[in-house]
Every structure is written in C-alpha cells, then in structure tokens.
C-alpha cells in the first residue's frame, strides 16, 4: 500500500489495517480500463492505491451519449461503496484515468472479517458512512447551486 492512509481504514491500528488489506486482491488497470460499469452487480469495494479513477455518468451531449465525470478518486480514497450497501449495484461507471492500482475487497470476505472482529466492522462502517455522507453533502450543495441559477434565469 502507498504511503497515503486509506480513508476507509482510519482509526484502525496498523495491525488491524494490515489484516483488512490482506483480504484484498491487487488489481492493475491500464489507462482507460474500466473498473466497473453503471448498473453492474457490486460485489467488491476498492481502495485506490496508485493512479486515479474517474467516476462518470452518461449524458446526452449534442445527441450523443457521453460519459461525463462527476467525481475523481485519488490514492487513499474509496471507490464502489455500493459493494457494501444494498441493493449492491454500481450507480456510476469507474475508469482508470492513468496507470492505476486498486485493492479489491470482496463483500463476503469483509463481512466475515467484521463478524469475527466487530470493532473493525464498526470502524470501517463509520468511515464508509463518512465517504457516503461527504458525497451526499457535496451533491446536495451542487444541486442547490444549480437550482439557484435556474430560479435566477426564470425570474430575470
């Protein structure tokens, strides 16, 4: 793992973090390679170790469907929390922007580990809630800014 502390493993001791990382599989992605697609079953959670992942959604631009970036994930950050949250379907498409390495943690392995180590499960769930909450708050603010502009356009 790179020097960056994974946001998902915060508050865990180095030994606990190592045990969790040992559950994962290192996946190498070439530039432009797809990590997962929109709507695909989500069985894994990913920690970005090196490189960069872009999260996109399809959008109609000039009559053509184009992937538009909605977020970018850097080393230490988590990708694909849908792997731990029902209904276990990815709601975005993830692609490597450059040579990238991620650690893929399977849901089944994580849940078994959490059952054996409840404190680790609790800490990771809290960290995951922070990731999800941060995204929710960012998009909430973005949505409100967009709404404000729409209202201004309509009233001008």
């Amino acid at each position: 793992m790179s020097n960056v502390e994974p946001e998902l493993l915060k508050t865990l001791t180095p030994a606990e973090a190592e045990e969790v990382l040992a559950l994962g599989t290192r996946v190498h992605l070439d530039t432009g390679a797809e990590l997962f697609s929109l709507g695909a079953p989500a069985d894994h959670l990913y920690l970005v170790d090196r490189g960069r992942i872009t999260l996109t959604l399809p959008m109609q631009v000039q009559g053509r469907e184009q992937d538009v970036q909605v977020e970018e994930r850097l080393p230490g950050q988590t990708v694909g929390w849908s792997g731990l949250i029902p209904p276990y379907r990815f709601t975005l498409k993830a692609t490597a922007l450059l040579q990238t390495e991620v650690i893929a943690l399977s849901r089944s392995a994580l849940l078994e580990h959490f059952a054996r180590n409840p404190y680790v499960g609790y800490a990771i769930t809290r960290n995951l809630a922070a990731v999800i909450g941060q995204r929710l708050q960012v998009f909430q603010a973005m949505w409100l800014r967009e709404m404000q502009r729409t209202v201004e356009r309509l009233s001008s």
């Binding site: 959008m59 631009v61 000039q62 053509r64 184009q66 538009v68 970036q69 909605v70 977020e71 941060q134 708050q137 960012v138 998009f139 909430q140 603010a141 973005m142 409100l144 800014r145 967009e146 404000q148 502009r149």
Partner: protein
C-alpha cells in the same frame, strides 16, 4: 400602283383590327359592376415570404441568444462540462468546509453559466 394601293389597304385593315383589339382589352368595366349586386370584399391572405430553392420550414421566432449561439464542437463542450463539474464540486466542498449562505451561492467562473 395597284400593288401599292393593295399594300395601303392591307395596312389600314391591320390597323383597324389592332385598334379594335386594343379597345376590347381596355374597355371600362364600371357599367357592369354597377349592374351586379354588391360583392363581398376580397379578404387579404397573408402570404408567406417567398422561399425559392429551399424546403426549409419557416423558422419560428427564436430567442436572439439561441439564434446567435455559435455551434460548439463536442470536444470543447465536453471540456467545458468537465471544468464546470470540477468548479462546482470545489465550490460545494468549500461550502462544506465553511458553511455560509455566501459560500453556498458563490459565483462561478464556469463558461457554462456565463
């Protein structure tokens, strides 16, 4: 001499026929109108502007901005969308760091907004 007289006669006859035809074509119609019952005035039908050599429908009145908007290449538009999302995300994250009304509605430099 006989041929000359014949030519003059034919010319006079032709002139007379021409004069009669001219008179018939330019005859005053007013006496006939007076005899007819009052006619309804002809309604004026708005004509569409002439459009020679084109099958394009008449364009509806477009807003000036839309009519004057230049065609943006898709690559440029995608870059603008990308920049817009990044700027908006940065603004939203800045709001989360220091939540105030001013930071929530801070102005953006995005070309998609201006």
């Amino acid at each position: 001499m006989v041929m000359f007289l014949m030519a003059v006669c034919l010319s006079m006859f032709g002139l007379a026929v021409t004069a009669m035809a001219f008179g018939a074509a330019t005859r005053d119609e007013r006496p006939l109108e007076a005899a007819q019952p009052a006619l309804k005035p002809v309604l004026s039908v708005p004509l569409s502007p002439s459009r020679f050599f084109t099958d394009l429908p008449i364009a509806p009145a477009l807003p000036m901005a839309a009519a004057a908007r230049p065609h943006v290449p898709i690559e440029v538009l995608l870059l603008q969308i990308d920049r817009h999302v990044r700027l908006e995300q940065a603004a939203a994250e800045s709001f989360l760091d220091y939540p105030t009304v001013a930071s929530l509605h801070s102005r953006t430099a995005s070309p998609l907004v201006h």
